[in-house]
């Protein structure tokens, strides 16, 4: 219990000020150190130095792309005090939609049935990408609409839509995997650039570049725009935000829509990553990894706290643990348990730090 009698009205505020930027940087910095520790752990223990080869690092980067991209939207949702459990289903919805468009057939000029891709090799993939992202963005908007319009708890709403969107994905795919008739550039966005010679010009896989652009946009939005600060305000104290004229409903609508959008983009990556197949059962449970990445990244489940950079570090940490665990020859069950433990430890450490502050 604090003792108000002994608390001066105005403490040495300048000193506290100097502490603050350090604290914020310290948050991300501490997580970065943890990531580094995980890296060093595996770098030393995985035999033959296989872990720190460029190719392996690129691999980790590619694998973390899906979580990290979906994590951008999830960070906004969690900072605003919400949760989006439908993320995994949204990713699958995007994957299936892309494949479905690429698999469309139309009647050719001579009346024969032809595949869209064959007919419009440039236009069709663009259309597929748009369709995939638009459908998930609209789905995200629906999440937000239900939560705001019906004043329901996000956990329950997105638990419901998690099932709905997964069902929709299966429906579109008619409960089968869709194999588009030919490969397009979408298949290649996650292709490694260090192992193949064709892409050397772009240094990193296209998907990673997409992620980097997304990170910059999301981070700037959260930190420097009015909308971004309102997201924090809503998560920190919703009633206050409303009192101060922040349109709480619109802010929430935005974060769920953003989550839908970024899940759509993550879906494109997933589509490429699993080899260009429209698999409706893909990305099951991914929402949990995405949420874990955001939380390991320092976000608070009660809202008001979190950062894009932290989420990226969180996603990398999780992927590194998986890859490292695999290369150490750990059985799958050990890997899963380790990840679980890491999540709890990360949150517990955060708790401790807060209590001391």
């Amino acid at each position: 219990m604090s003792d108000p009698i002994e608390t001066p009205l105005v403490p040495n505020a300048t000193e506290e000020h100097r502490r603050r930027p350090k604290l914020v940087l310290g948050n991300v910095f501490g997580r970065f150190i943890a990531l580094l520790a995980v890296f060093i752990f595996f770098a030393v223990l995985v035999e033959g130095g296989k872990f720190y080869t460029l190719r392996n690092l690129e691999n980790i980067l590619r694998q973390s792309c899906v979580y990290a991209t979906a994590g951008l939207g999830m960070t906004m949702v969690i900072v605003a005090g919400g949760i989006d459990l439908s993320a995994g289903s949204l990713i699958a919805l995007s994957v299936v939609t892309v494949a479905w468009v690429l698999n469309l057939n139309v009647a050719g000029a001579d009346g024969s049935v032809q595949s869209v891709v064959a007919l419009h090799p440039v236009l069709a993939p663009i259309l597929a990408v748009l369709a995939g992202v638009v459908i998930t963005t609209v789905a995200g908007l629906a999440n937000g609409g239900i939560i705001v319009g019906l004043r329901l708890v996000p956990f329950i709403v997105t638990l419901g839509t998690m099932g709905m969107f997964r069902g929709l994905a299966k429906g579109i795919a008619r409960e089968r995997d869709i194999y588009p008739p030919q490969d397009t550039w979408i298949n290649r966005i996650m292709d490694p650039t260090l192992s193949t010679h064709g892409h050397s010009g772009i240094l990193l896989p296209t998907g990673v570049w997409i992620l980097i652009v997304g990170v910059v946009i999301a981070a700037l939005l959260l930190r420097y725009t009015r909308l971004g600060r309102h997201i924090f305000a809503v998560g920190s104290n919703e009633e206050t935000a409303r009192l101060c004229g922040v349109s709480v409903g619109r802010t929430k609508l935005f974060v769920y829509t953003a989550s839908g959008f970024f899940c759509g983009v993550a879906g494109l990556m997933q589509f490429s990553y699993i080899g260009g197949i429209g698999q409706p059962t893909t990305a099951v449970m991914y929402e949990l990894f995405v949420i874990a990445a955001v939380i390991i990244g320092g976000a608070s489940f009660t809202g008001g706290e979190g950062s894009i950079l932290g989420t990226i570090i969180g996603a990398l940490t999780i992927t590194m643990l998986y890859t490292g665990g695999q290369q150490m020859g750990w059985p799958k069950w050990v890997q899963e348990m380790v990840i679980g433990i890491i999540i709890i430890v990360a949150v517990a450490l955060d708790r401790l730090r807060h209590r001391r502050a």
Binding site: M1, S2, D3, P4, I5, E6, T7, L9, V10, P11, N12, A13, T14, E16, H17, R20, P21, Y224, T225, R226, L227, R229, F232, A233, G235, S236, N237, E239, T240, A241, R242, L243, C244, G245, V246, G304, E305, A357
Partner: protein
């Protein structure tokens, strides 16, 4: 009873004028014609019992509710805010008891939340900093750096940040709801200095408080609400507190502290050299049946910790606790079976379950016997609760009413009814009358007296000295974790208690 219409207010030049404001919720009339006139640069105390309609009136002022009838003017212009945001923008700012800040955001972001200076979608941080700094210096927080997170500030500082937010929006009427309830004496002085500064800038202040002495000290005039009506208004100078209290309760309060003959019996609670991990430090006391023992002291002296340690909520470091024949430290659930019950100082967070019914709250510590075998029947819970509702009495619709819908005073009575239902012998009451209206206070004093007369033992912590002197048989003072000797009430007076509380040994 009702003083003549106040001559000092000339409505044509009033800052805020409310005339015949009415509001009805279903069958109950919360406001039945309220008049309130506040002049520019005037501090108006708004007083009344809980349930008198103060909060409804405030919500109407703040734009959260719309009146059914009546007129409101701000500087002569009709004032009818559709929502809180409109009200704030028209210049009426509300500082609630529970502060409305976003703890994770910086001070400057909080001050300008919703009105951030922007350039397109981007926030103009420099302009924000400037405006926030100006507002902070108005409220005397120049030393605070605007980038610091609000949650790193003390409660008193946070309150000032809220006032700074009102100032930044050029507020003309500042409404303060119980602004001193969580402040220390020093902070209160500073707040009053600020109110006087704001006053000199022509800002009008509506000051709502249960602490009538404070209200009298800071306010120029007062308005008394009772049962949704304005029953009196006048200058604070030259009006006695008794007069204001009489207006509030609608009757003279002569017998606020009843006292039946009490005969102290056996010792039922004894602690020896009891220490917690921070507080208390080596506290000893003996509490007898049929006795009310008061504990005085400053906020933070360790009084609450003492109660919690006795009840098993805080850990014992060393020392002895004996309850009747039972010896040693225990968990709260054990304490209940030993017939010790506690009323927490923090009703909302700790004391009561706001979402549950009155019956659920009252019967929670003792559900045995409220149904066959180990079942608990809601009907039996209600039946067990009803006698207390009638006896105390608790003002409510019925035993299944949601606790959160009751007024503060009635909630507190439910907290005490819980101890009665559990039929405890030792009552630990931590600030039992905090934040409740005078009428409920009187009922609680009477209840404490009845319990003591029936042979119960009461240990009571209070920060309100007149109440301790009125209710208790003996009083001990706590200072920095140490508990002084308990002396007969007649050996104490207000000044002696204060001197002991701030740690100056008197001879």
């Amino acid at each position: 009873m009702v003083p003549s219409a106040d001559e000092s207010a000339k409505p044509d030049s009033a800052r805020l004028e409310m005339r015949g404001v009415r509001k009805r919720f279903g069958a109950t009339e919360a406001l039945r014609g309220v008049d309130l006139v506040v002049m520019p640069g005037e501090v108006m105390a708004l007083v009344g019992e809980n349930g008198a309609g103060k909060s409804t009136l405030m919500k109407i002022l703040a734009g959260a509710l719309r009146p059914d009838d009546g007129r409101m003017f701000l500087d002569g212009k009709p004032f009818a805010p559709g929502n809180p945001w409109r009200a704030r923008h028209s210049g009426v700012a509300m500082i609630y008891q529970e502060l409305a800040l976003a703890p994770h955001l910086s001070v400057m972001e909080n001050i300008l939340l919703g009105v951030e200076p922007t350039h397109g979608p981007l926030v103009r941080w420099k302009a924000m900093r400037q405006r926030a700094t100006a507002a902070l210096s108005t409220v005397g927080l120049d030393q605070i750096v605007p980038e610091i997170q609000v949650r790193q500030l003390s409660v008193a500082q946070q309150q000032l940040v809220e006032i700074a937010r009102a100032v930044a929006l050029d507020c003309r009427v500042l409404v303060l709801d119980e602004p001193t309830s969580s402040l220390t004496a020093k902070d209160i002085e500073r707040l009053f200095a600020l109110i006087r500064r704001l006053k000199s800038r022509g800002i009008s202040v509506v000051y709502i408080s249960h602490f009538l002495e404070e209200a009298q000290q800071i306010a120029d005039r007062f308005t008394v609400l009772r049962d949704g009506e304005t029953v009196g208004t006048g200058k604070t100078v030259g009006t006695s507190l008794d007069r204001i209290i009489a207006l509030m309760v609608g009757r003279e309060v002569n017998e606020l502290y009843p006292r039946s003959s009490r005969t102290p019996g056996d010792v039922v609670l004894e602690i020896k050299e009891l220490s917690g991990f921070a507080k208390p430090r080596a506290a000893s006391l003996r509490l007898r049946r049929g006795e009310v023992l008061g504990i005085s002291g400053l906020i933070g002296a360790g009084r609450t910790e003492l109660m919690r340690t006795i009840f098993g909520l805080d850990r014992v470091q060393r020392g002895e606790i004996r309850v009747g024949v039972f010896q040693g430290a225990q968990t709260p659930s054990q304490r209940w079976t030993e017939r010790v019950g506690m009323v927490s100082e923090d009703r909302r967070m700790e004391g009561l379950a706001y979402g549950l019914s009155i019956a659920e709250n009252v019967t929670l510590p003792r559900l045995q016997g409220l149904g066959p075998w180990r079942f608990v029947l809601p009907s039996r819970q209600r039946a067990a609760c009803e006698p207390w509702i009638a006896q105390i009495p608790i003002k409510c619709l019925n035993a299944s009413q949601r606790l959160g819908d009751l007024s503060g005073g009635n909630q507190q009575k439910v907290a005490i009814a819980r101890l009665l239902h559990a039929d405890v012998d030792v009552l630990l009451l931590d600030e039992p009358t905090r934040g409740i209206d005078v009428g409920s206070k009187a009922q609680i004093y009477r209840l404490i007296d009845e319990l003591a007369a029936r042979g119960k033992a009461v240990l009571m912590v209070s920060s309100y000295i007149p109440e301790l002197l009125g209710v208790c048989d003996r009083i001990a003072v706590m200072c920095r974790g140490r508990l002084g000797e308990a002396r007969e009430r007649d050996d104490w007076n207000e000044q002696k208690l204060m001197t002991a509380a701030i740690g100056q040994e008197e001879t």
